[in-house]
């Protein structure tokens, strides 16, 4: 089942995502980054570089490093947007024979789709190695204002990259899909996209599951980079005022300023102020100079206020063109990293009078939407079956009134889990299976789903029989609990219908209660386990005395017996501390049996009268410590 890629082919950065197990996942590229710069370069040695790597060598190879190729896609050379690029970019833009804008690199001409194809090729290759499968199909996004020629160019790019482009979808539509808005009815949606270099506002009308673009507007040269520049200028100006040096003239200092500015801007989206600390930023005859300044959020908002305000015009125009009021817009979506800034969110909020959607990472939301569309078109998946989970834990009651869980809550069903339990008393003829549902430690605090008995057990010392208890939940949530005596093969079971469970509120309430009572439940459980342990110990001790007979000296026998009595007395009380200390005492006393028996020369050939339940080893091993996870004691005990 080959995945279909969802690709956001952006002006500055590109992102790839897929649907995996019903969830959109952004794929990291080969460098481990979720964003891939839309930069392509051809080095002097003819090597082709794409992404971050291409960016890094741009300064050494400006004529052959291409960026923002999206601005040229599907456009003619004479297009004003192209002409603007011709003046601004470091690479050569030429007129092709058919009037299209082409790029000249390393002595060869390339069409914009060919360049974009190189980016898509990298996205594809990286996705293939990450997923371990061949990828041949994709959904690619384009701005809502792209015309036919531009859309075709994008499709061509995909084809050159070896991808069958199942669909070209609009970026604002993709963003709407990412927020699940296609599930709503007849809505007006506004998508506010402020990225690294461009601003786009789109209004969409959703009706009958179809998105229709009503109007678009924007500013093709307004973005986060401009915000950064404001901070750099402020830092440089302040520094010049204080120290008389213009850092903008120092290439290295400028580099550090730019990086610090971007970091500070990002910081200030979640803090009210940040320190910009750049020691040894430059030096003059009097020595090294440091830049240390505090930038508050308020100051930042002043610095970029006009940039943010510049987005208002296009928004109002787009609304006007769509023939709607800002208040008529039902949903507003934020796209693009710069929309993380509180002041930007505030502007959007004030224009539309409602809270914008921003839960999905704004850098990735378009790719996520493309992936969702890709998932729908993938089609290979036959009726994706939505599996349920069991909302609360299921288990049985074990010795001392404790609930032993077999299936944890939120386990996906169908599922099956079984464990081995045993008896709590000698010659126990039957076991009671009490099926419980819930999160509390004590069975009485949980919901009882059913009871049944497995009878006809062969007489045996306690702990010896092996009763396999299996919980089996089918896809419909019906629970079958089976108890089987491995020795006799006798089996009993009970079927519990799904509806005998609880409602959503009940579930939440029970989980909450479990959390509230976690502390005391745990303590209670520990007390019960201590008691079980002590009880076991006493039983073992009695057996040992019987089995060892007169190999144990009378005085030691007397000590053991009184220790046993102390334990049984303590168990009769409710004092857990006393039970614990009596049990420890008994354990110590029993150690002496081993010492005594082994010190009797040549006495080691006695039959394996072990202490353990199976009686398999002759050594005086005490019963397994109670905090071993496998030895949960129950009304029947787990072996």
């Amino acid at each position: 089942m080959a995945h279909v890629l969802g690709i956001d082919l952006g002006t500055t950065n590109s992102v790839t995502a897929i649907i995996e197990a019903g969830e959109p996942t952004v794929l990291e590229n080969s460098e481990g980054a979720r964003l891939t710069p839309s930069v392509v370069a051809i080095t002097k040695s003819g090597e082709r570089l794409v992404g971050q790597v291409a960016k890094r060598q741009a300064v050494t190879n400006p004529e052959n490093t291409v960026y923002s190729i999206k601005r040229l896609m599907g456009r003619k050379f004479d297009d004003p947007e192209v002409q603007r690029s011709v003046k601004e970019v470091s690479y050569k833009i030429v007129r092709a024979a058919n009037g299209d804008a082409h790029v000249s690199l390393a002595g060869r001409e390339y069409s914009p789709p060919e360049i974009s194809a190189m980016i898509l090729q990298k996205m594809r290759t990286d996705a293939e190695s990450r997923l371990g499968e061949k990828i041949t199909r994709a959904v690619i996004t384009v701005p809502a204002y792209f015309n036919d020629a531009q859309r075709q160019a994008t499709k061509d790019a995909g084809q050159i990259a070896g991808l069958e482009v199942l669909r070209i979808i609009n970026e604002p539509t993709a963003a709407s899909l990412a927020y699940g808005l296609d599930k709503k009815h007849d809505e007006t949606i506004a998508v506010y996209d402020l990225g690294g270099g461009t601003f786009d506002i789109s209004t969409l009308q959703l009706g009958e599951g179809v998105f229709e673009v009503r109007a678009t507007n924007g500013d093709t040269h307004l973005g986060g980079d401009d915000f950064d520049q404001r901070i750099v200028d402020w830092l440089a100006d302040e520094f010049k005022r204080d120290q008389g040096i213009d850092l903008r003239r120092d290439r290295m200092a400028l580099q550090r300023l730019k990086e610090a500015a971007e970091r500070a801007k990002i910081e200030l989206s979640s803090t009210m102020q940040t320190e910009i600390n750049l020691p040894f930023i430059t030096a003059d005859s009097s020595g090294p100079k440091h830049l240390v300044m505090t930038l508050t959020r308020a100051r930042l908002e002043q610095l970029v206020g006009d940039l943010i305000e510049r987005t208002r015009g296009p928004v109002m125009q787009a609304l006007k063109d769509a023939g709607i009021n800002a208040k008529d817009v039902n949903e507003v979506i934020l796209v693009g990293g710069q929309t993380r800034m509180p002041a930007v969110i505030e502007l959007v909020r004030s224009i539309f009078g409602k809270e914008p959607h921003k839960g999905v990472n704004p850098d990735e939301v378009v790719a996520v939407g493309a992936a969702i569309q890709a998932g729908v078109l993938q089609g290979d998946v036959k009726d994706v079956v939505l599996l349920d989970v069991t909302p609360l834990s299921l288990g049985v009651e074990t010795q001392g009134g404790v609930m032993t869980k077999l299936i944890e809550r939120n386990t996906t069903i169908p599922t099956r889990k079984s464990e081995i339990f045993s008896t709590a008393e000698d010659s126990q003829p039957a076991v009671d299976i009490h099926v419980l549902q819930g999160e509390r430690e004590l069975s009485r605090d949980n919901k009882s789903l059913g009871h049944f008995r497995l009878e006809g057990l062969a007489p045996a010392p306690r702990g010896l029989p092996q009763i396999e208890v299996a919980f089996d939940i089918d896809a419909n949530g019906i629970l079958n609990v089976t108890a089987r005596d491995k020795a006799t093969g006798r089996e009993q079971k009970v079927t519990i219908k799904a509806s005998s469970g609880l409602s959503q509120e009940d579930v939440q309430r029970m989980v909450r209660e479990a959390e509230l009572h976690a502390q005391e439940d745990r303590q209670r459980k520990e007390e019960i386990e201590a008691r079980n342990h002590a009880d076991n110990l006493a039983y073992q001790a009695e057996r040992t005395l019987r089995d060892m007979g007169d190999r144990i000296s009378a005085s030691l026998r007397g000590d053991v017996e009184s220790s046993i009595k102390a334990v049984r007395d303590a168990l009769g009380q409710q004092d857990t501390a006393r039970v614990r200390s009596a049990a420890d005492e008994l354990e110590r006393t029993m150690q002496r049996i081993g010492q005594e028996v082994y010190s009797q020369a040549g006495a080691g050939t006695g039959p394996g009268a072990g202490y353990g339940p199976g009686g398999s080893d002759g050594a005086g091993t005490p019963p397994p410590p109670r905090d071993e996870p496998d030895t949960v004691e129950g009304e029947y005990r787990e072996v």
Partner: protein, 188 residues
Amino acid sequence: MQPPESEQQTDDAQHDEAPQEMEALSLEQQLADARQQRQECFDALLRSQADFLNYKRRALQDQAEARVAAQQELLEKLLPALDDLGRALEAAPAELAEQPWVQGLHLVARHLAMTLQQLGVRQIGSPGEAFDPHRHEAVMTERRADLPEGTVIEVTRPGYALGDRVLRPSQVIVAAAPETTAVAPTDG
């Protein structure tokens, strides 16, 4: 029993057998359907199992990568401060070099460097190397006649690698050819 070839009887027999035939056909059809359905279910089961195994495999892979990525992130955050320390030491005035406090500072820096080394972090990028965008980031070029084009002249900010993974490329100044390279041939 009547011989089956008799037409009359055949007609009657056919008449009698028709519903049975239909029933037989229907059963055959049902059997075929059931077989196909079974095959489909089986196929779906296998795919499910395969998906699960693949997911497990990827989960383990992702876990290993996540650990490395987490380390990387943490170290990356420390690098700017490390850079500043480097700058501070470089700018130490010569006349203070013998001062014990200054020497102590150098020792502290050395300790830090050793710790990083022990963690598997190493510096990358040094003058004289051929520029490699996988390890270096060019911030500036300088025309030089005495160095081959594309040689790293100076490292303005050190780069670091963790194992064979580049944490951060070193920022470098790269030598450019002394005279302007010929303009690319004009387009046809």
